[in-house]
Amino acid sequence: MFTDDAGKGGIAAGGPGNSENSARRTGGDLVQLITPAGERISHPEFDPWLQDVSDEQLCSLYEDMVVIRRIDAEATALQRQGELALWPPLLGQEAAQIGSARTLREDDFVFPSYRDNGVAYCRGVKPEDLVRAWRGNASAGWNPFTVNVATQQIIIGSQSLHATGYAMGIQNDGADCVAVAYFGDGATSEGDVNEAMVFAASFQAPVVFICQNNHWAISEPVRLQSHIHLADRASGFGIPSMRVDGNDVLAVMAATRIALDRARHGGGPTFIEAVTYRMGPHTTADDPTRYRDANELEDWAAKDPISRMKSLLDRKGLLTADLEAAVAAKADAVAKELRAGTINMPEPQPLDIFKHVYSTPNSWLDRQQDHYSRYLASFGDPAEAASEEGAR
């Protein structure tokens, strides 16, 4: 699940890393390897990076996309049922997330945004950990160092700076792992992302910027934010870029492999624009019908990443009843696990707030904690006082 062995094979597979031309590719036409009808199109530059992808791996990519869509739907339902305060749906962006995350190595480090739950799932984050912060039970859902995924950023685009800093650290260590920043189209209008690209280019840091252009920065359409393709913005920083169909899991995968390979071999940063579409609301508190045309959604539904993959498998004769049953069972099981894990999640305790402020003991904080404990104790029954606090 963590990594895709084939990912390492990208180099061995004789990828076009030696071609100076393609290595510095910038923007250009949208690369698509699977049509919306599920037809596999050949592409001289990208195909070599996928030579090793087996039928089993295709099926498992499909499974991951179905499962993450199901997690997303279940979490949305849990929000509507009052179990989560908020949830940012990723519906429609499954291929962009699964295709890229599945190519990463275990020692690569991901810096995601709040919507990148598919990425986190691929890295081994447990379903209930995806919703822990949205339920208000913790400041963050997981320990970043057990899965090499930083906590999801709410601040738009700031994770691109964290990723670039981490990548500069990798350089200092002399390691060959890569830092990967995930952000959306709106983030490219933020100062943080632009600063990150300046630093990444200046230091030739091993960082990959994966921009999921889902067309909407909440209610602001991408066409208002940029008069050129987002991928073309990267060339202004001297960063090579690719513009791929983000609803095409193989195109995303190949592009990510090219970028990772470049970063691992001292070639510096790459910017990938995965052109996709946010089919749902910005978050469960948003009503997209107020600002966008229903026809647009219909157009993109026809380019759905999962139905496209399904058609591809069908054409290859891989879409058996057994596969479908197994994938459905897996999705059901994960959804059930998510629901049970969410509903039975222990409430946070009042003193938990002191736990993750400093990594080392801190006398000033200890004093505050001591004061606060005694304050809580003054309410009488500490358990009851705690549960009341916990409910906040």
Partner: protein, 461 residues
Amino acid sequence: MIATMIKEFRLPDLGEGLTESEIVSWKVNVGDTVSLNQIIAEVETAKAVVELPSPFAGVVTALHEQPGTVVEVGKPIVSFEVEGDAGAQTAAGGAAESPAAKREPNLVGYGAVVEATGRPARRPRAFAAAPPVERVETKQAEPLVELVETAPAEPLTGERPRSTPPVRKLAKDLGVDLELVTGSGPGGLITRDDVRNFVGGGELPAAAQELAGEAGQAQGQVPSARPGEREVRTPIKGVRKFTAAAMVSSAFTAPHVTEFLTVDVTPAMELLARLKASKAFAGLKLTPLTLVAKAALIALRRNPTLNSKWDEANQEIVQFNYVNLGIAAATPRGLTVPNIKDADRMTLAELSTALTGLTETARAGKTSPAELSGGTISITNIGVFGIDAGTPILNPGEAAILAMGAVRKMPWEYQDQVALRQVMTLSLSFDHRLVDGEQGSRFLADIGALLADPGMALAMV
């Protein structure tokens, strides 16, 4: 034997920090078996209309709130009978487990549990002076207890008057409570006619009825009076609040003048009938509004002053060289005035298509903000309600609004005789700051001339 138990679903905070939501409709009935995550209701918050998925698999035993009711976050809205023992079904969490506990909405998610005794969540420190605090607490407790006791309206029993879904829809649109209607159909079934007779709608012209339904829907926020209630108080908010602010600002900044003109539109109606029958307009929805809109657009070319705007901030009069034609529409969310962009460049067929599209989008409540802004002049069709004339208030920022009345057969002078003719009254309000009586009058007269004799278009274009 499988043990069953009753679970309540309390209205969650569906946005970030919302305190209430309106039940738009129930998708299930009492007695229905529902599965986990099956959509059970549609709810409108201040932010969006959203669907509620069921938190349980089981049988619906009660729907606690009627559609149209605004419900506080945390109040039970539906009860289920679910299988399994209490230990296993930790399913829908704390809120449902302890019906006594009432949660107050906080900024994000739920706030603290307020105990049913009415004590504040945080008790005084041990060293605080006890007696006065106690007194204060009791005081605070009262309203809470009262709220709990009076809040649950009469619980909905399983029985409800028999009717079919389209009839229930009609009743809802007209604001009729079916409990009060006597059914004349087989077995007491309430029919469409029963509902119409109840509101005395028999006299409404057929065309008007459809739109009256819309109007009823727009008033949907106003609950129909229940027996024994002498007044109903509805908070001013949402579209109503916005409409009110716009009307007040328009009425008290732009000095309105309204002029009336009654016209024999028989030739225009004959033209309409011919166009409808012609191949070129097959499949299009041509109505009197289409012709009035076209006539106004033609008249506007000769009287461009009516298509302008008073820009107070810049001390300028803005003359538009395009026409974004606003059409007042009663929608499920209230009055909106979406506009047709560049309507002056459209052929009659294009205009007809645009009008149909605009009305359908508005009725579906799907009008986009872009369609609502940038209007330059508006038309309101009060004729569909069977009304002749009125003094319409300008859509803020526009210089004129035309109200078209109902087309009636009336005795009228025709070729020096009295004949039964089709007659319509046009009412035109304009902003007297930038439109003089002469310009307004010429514009209205031109529209009248076009409707009285559509051939005049040859002379005007």
